[in-house]
């Protein structure tokens, strides 16, 4: 019997690695491998090079945790950034989302996750103590906590607020409310309650 699929060991290895990417299972990894082979010069070889480049040159910023080729990163070093404000995010993806929105021009601090009793993630597993140090710097006047509006995210926000209460900074958090473009009928009660209690003059 030929039960074991044998695409050749190189292809097997490639498919196995591709299937570890988030969003790709075994079947889509096989499809991706075939598509890559069909487009060797336009995607496959450039992707190989890009992976090696990023693995070599991109590292977390030792100040804020952002990913960049330089350390400190281009945001920490940027001469047009507002150095009085630090925005705390869970993950680099959240930092990217805020940058895309173009709404914020201060500094960031990536804590690298949330506190989670279930997953055994404690304060020492996150990048929180360096944040407390940064908040003590004279220039910093405000820390905006932009963790996700999940239970773990909010627990982490409360923990950080608590740790910051001895410093002189103002601690704020993102507003809860109706998402722009959202329909009331589809929103959960928690969001509606938050939106109602934070209502503002028209």
């Amino acid at each position: 019997m030929y039960r074991k699929a044998s695409y050749g060991s190189e292809l097997d290895q490639l498919i196995q690695l591709l299937s570890k990417l988030p969003g790709l299972g075994p079947r889509s990894a096989r499809r991706a491998a075939l598509q890559l082979i069909k487009r060797k010069d336009s995607i496959m070889r450039p992707l190989s090079t890009a992976l090696a480049e990023v693995a070599e040159h991109v590292n977390p910023c030792s100040t804020c945790g952002n990913l960049d080729t330089s350390d400190p990163c281009h945001i920490c070093e940027g001469d047009r950034r507002d150095r009085t404000t630090i925005c705390v995010v869970e993950d680099v993806a959240d930092l990217w989302a805020l940058e895309r929105s173009g709404t914020y021009r201060g500094l960031y601090h990536v804590i690298g996750g949330t506190l989670s009793a279930l997953d055994g993630v404690g304060p020492d597993d996150l990048n929180i103590s360096p944040l407390i140090e940064r908040a003590r710097e004279d220039l910093v006047t405000e820390v905006i906590i932009a963790t996700n509006a999940t239970v773990d995210g909010q627990t982490t926000a409360h923990y950080i607020t608590d740790r910051l209460k001895d410093s002189s900074v103002t601690v704020t958090r993102l507003a809860h409310g109706v998402p722009v473009g959202g329909e009331l009928d589809y929103l959960d009660d928690g969001t509606l309650t938050a939106a109602m209690s934070s209502r503002r003059p028209f």
Copy 2:
């Protein structure tokens, strides 16, 4: 304003290439890039190497169109394969599916797609003429047409059958019927009609 997302040019390039893989959009490409950076040694560098290896060494077999590091491929060269039978498939993914099932031990022929008036794919765009040549070899007695049961797949099957009618081989096709584990209530009329008209003694 900072409208343009700026992750650094290396990361931008990587995310853009990843988003071209089937099954990954811009958002999942960003997530994949972050996960890769978190697991540089276990996934990122090996994936870069695997891509380069496959791009360098894996090519279509000049006989059957299967992808392999050797040409002819390990199936065409395999000394335990039945050389009297050629199974015609649309794509290498279909060949892999048949190999995984372990049901077939003859040779293959990958035609590389289907005829499609809509997409302007004619017989000369597919790997069909070499199949007709192979079917003329003395050893070959049967050609199994295993194109997909789609309109284009069936059109292509009819076209190939027509081209093969001057040769001495028997032309067969995969049976249509109820998929194993399938529930009648969820099947389309075409499948039920095919299953009924091809019914067999119990």
